[in-house]
């Protein structure tokens, strides 16, 4: 964002609400942090934090491709969450949630 942009926007601002304002907010560089919306931040299958790639992916040293994390989180209907990689291996043997033994069906996937 260059200075000219702000001045232009600023002038637009001026037109709308006259100078009864004490301050104008010219610029705001916000910082936020995202994390998976999970109840437990550790994947119960590989015991790695869900924010990190699962053990298997770490072992393969997969680089996060631009913007898309390869190792995403998956939520079941039971609201338990795991690494998608871990879970897809798990269901090949046992189609139940490892934590509550309910039939596993995907509620949503992290993106």
């Amino acid at each position: 964002m260059s200075g000219e942009d702000f001045d232009a926007l600023d002038r637009g601002d001026n037109d709308g609400q006259k100078s009864d304002k004490m301050f104008t907010l010219k610029k705001w560089n916000a910082v936020a942090m995202w994390s998976w919306d999970v109840e437990c931040d550790t994947c119960a299958i590989c015991r790695v934090q869900v924010m990190d790639a699962c053990l298997r992916c770490q072992g393969e040293s997969k680089k996060d491709s631009y913007g898309k994390q390869d190792c995403v989180v998956v939520w079941g209907e039971c609201n338990h969450s795991f690494h998608f990689c871990c879970m897809s291996l798990w269901v090949k043997q046992n189609n139940r949630c490892p934590l509550c033994q309910q039939e596993w069906s995907i509620q949503r996937m992290g993106k």
Partner: protein, 793 residues
Amino acid sequence: MSLKPRNVDFTETWTHLKETVAGVVGLRAVERSVWNTRFSDVYALCVAHPEPLADRLYDETKSFLEEHVAGLLARVRGSSSLENNDHNDGLLTRYVTAWREYSQGVAYLNSLYSYLNLQHVKRQKVSDAEIIYGSAATVSCPENDARQLEVGELGLEIWERVLVRPLSTALTGRIVSALCSARDSTPDPALATTLKEAIHSTVQVRAFRVRAPLQLYQQLVLEPYLAAAGAAHARMAAALLAAGDVAHYTRLALQQLEREVSLGARFLDASSAEQVRACYERAAVAAHLPALHATVDKLMRDAATDERDGQERRDDLRRMYVLLRPLGGAALRPLVDAAHAQATADGHALLAQPHNKDEAHTHFVNAMLTLHGKYSKLFADVFGGAQAFIGALDKACSAVVNFRGPTDSCARAPELLARYCDCLLRKRGGGGGGSGETDVDEKLSAAIVVFKYVDDKDVFQKYYARALARRLIHQLSASMEQEEAMINRLKAACGYEFTNKLHRMFTDVAVSADLNAKFQQHLRDTNASTTPGFSIQVLQAGAWPLGGAMAPLAPPQQLERPARLFEAFYRASFSGRRLAWLHHLCTGELRTRYTPRVCHLSATTPQCALLLSFETVDQWSARDLRDALQLGGDAWWRHLRPLLDAALLLAEGDVGAGDGGGEPAPDATLALNLAFSCKRTKLRLTCANAPSHQGAATAGAGAGANAGAGADSGESATHCDDDRKMYLQAAIVRIMKQRKVLRHTELIQEVVSQARGSFAPSVAMIKKCIEALIDKQYLERAPAALDTYSYLA
């Protein structure tokens, strides 16, 4: 003439043949027709009927040659006394003349007897296989070997037996004395040729033998010569050392070595070059090792100086190295040790040079690079970059880099190096020094050289990650390409795991830029009003070293709106993600409208929020304002104070001063200073005295760096210790899971080698970790042996 076997009268034929043989061996002219007839005679005798006469022919020839050589012996001996060793008495010359004639003659004779050789002798010869695998026949002593030889070989064998043996002492004495005088002064060409031929005759005489072809040469020439040469070398070296200093010795000793080698090459058999050299080294160098080693330390010290003298000492050292190298590791050890000691001492001296405390990081890295550069060059120059010396330099650098004074709790190298990188990667304020991009690239690559010597790489990583976070969040990086290049350099040095988080931080910033563009597009598409100057960075949790709880904040409406819009947009773009605002890292820029001169204020979000609260009211009760913004704890005072200091706000009563999160008095008020004026048009408000728990991203920056640094490094040390314990425990479990049962020392070794990539663990810490794992029942002490652990599945 028929080839058919027939009756032959041996005596008659042999009489003729013998005459011709005598002619051939004596190198007298033999007519072609006579030669041809005699050639047929040999054939006839070999195939004679009824009894082939080959064996008899062979025996007769043998005794003839023996007789002939005995004659030659008398000729060669002449009147010389065999006891003295005067190589100029003519014996050598006579010997060589006789040898030339005889060896030539025997070669011809061999052709004359070629039928006998081919048909009769060849059959009896030992095959190569028999020689290699040693049949019974070849094991037997060659002297008693009754097998027949080819006639040429027979001739040589007789020469050795009949002529050389009786003369051996005389020959040896003369050859050795001639060689010795040839070392001191160039012999005249005739003598040189004679000497050379005499020596080579001892090789040629046995050249046809498969076993020990050089035996005669070794006995007759090489061994006596080496014994004599060794004594001479030892005398020479002792004289050199007595006469002058080491410089004098090394120079002349090397010259002598060269002369000796060329002497050997000129006169001796090519196979002896190695022995001649070794003999010299043993006698002239190895025997004086203690004397040489005693001078090494001083030489090394002097060689490291830049003065004119240094060049000469370097030459001395180079020669010394050339002399010592062939003697192996033990002889070089003191040299290597001296190199190590000198580099270490020099390194400490460089680091101890007076310097500006604010420039400690630059001083440190530059000193290390100077040290490394200087000694790399010196060792390459003097020691040809030999592995042992590179190793010594590495050890020295590592010792200097990780040096810890008695008062330091940990080495400062990781912190200083990280700061050095930070300074290079940061945007430089206004034209700064004009160091170009390539220059910075070079400096960063050089920093990696120092980095490789740092033991506590994990500590470095922590410092580096913080500095990187700071640069990325506050957009202080000079260039993103350089940032990425540096991360890749670290990755090349330390591997994926080391830079994983750095990479993720870097990726987050790139993704955020994309996200901003998409967000603005989204706002345009939905015709929502634009949010001027809003930009956002969305960081992933876990990758950023942003410790501490996020201070809550209820932002005013001006900030709230873009935030809500973005949250909605983000939720629509991704799923399953939670977003948390890191207000203490956000920065805003405000423009004052109430002052005579417009002033731009850049401040943290809580500060913006504070100011924006005075949009509609001129005065707030401090307590109400604090509650309205939900600025709890020490955050309140930390953000408020710079506003008061800059006189933007005016306080009345106790508004909650003190870093401990003091409570504002109920009647305390804050008012907007309407008379605010500022000389500059831009004003940057900071909250410099951030406490360590929250200030991870800001501590160590700017002016307040030194005050905060002490607490900062103390805190990071304990933090680091915990990380290391986890790392070690994980390593121990991995190793034990694989090995099941392992002895204590082996386990320690394995753990140390695994951890070396990121830090140098202390044995005490490993022991503690083992104890902890035993408590947690991952391991147990094996019941039978005291120092053995076993893994509990």
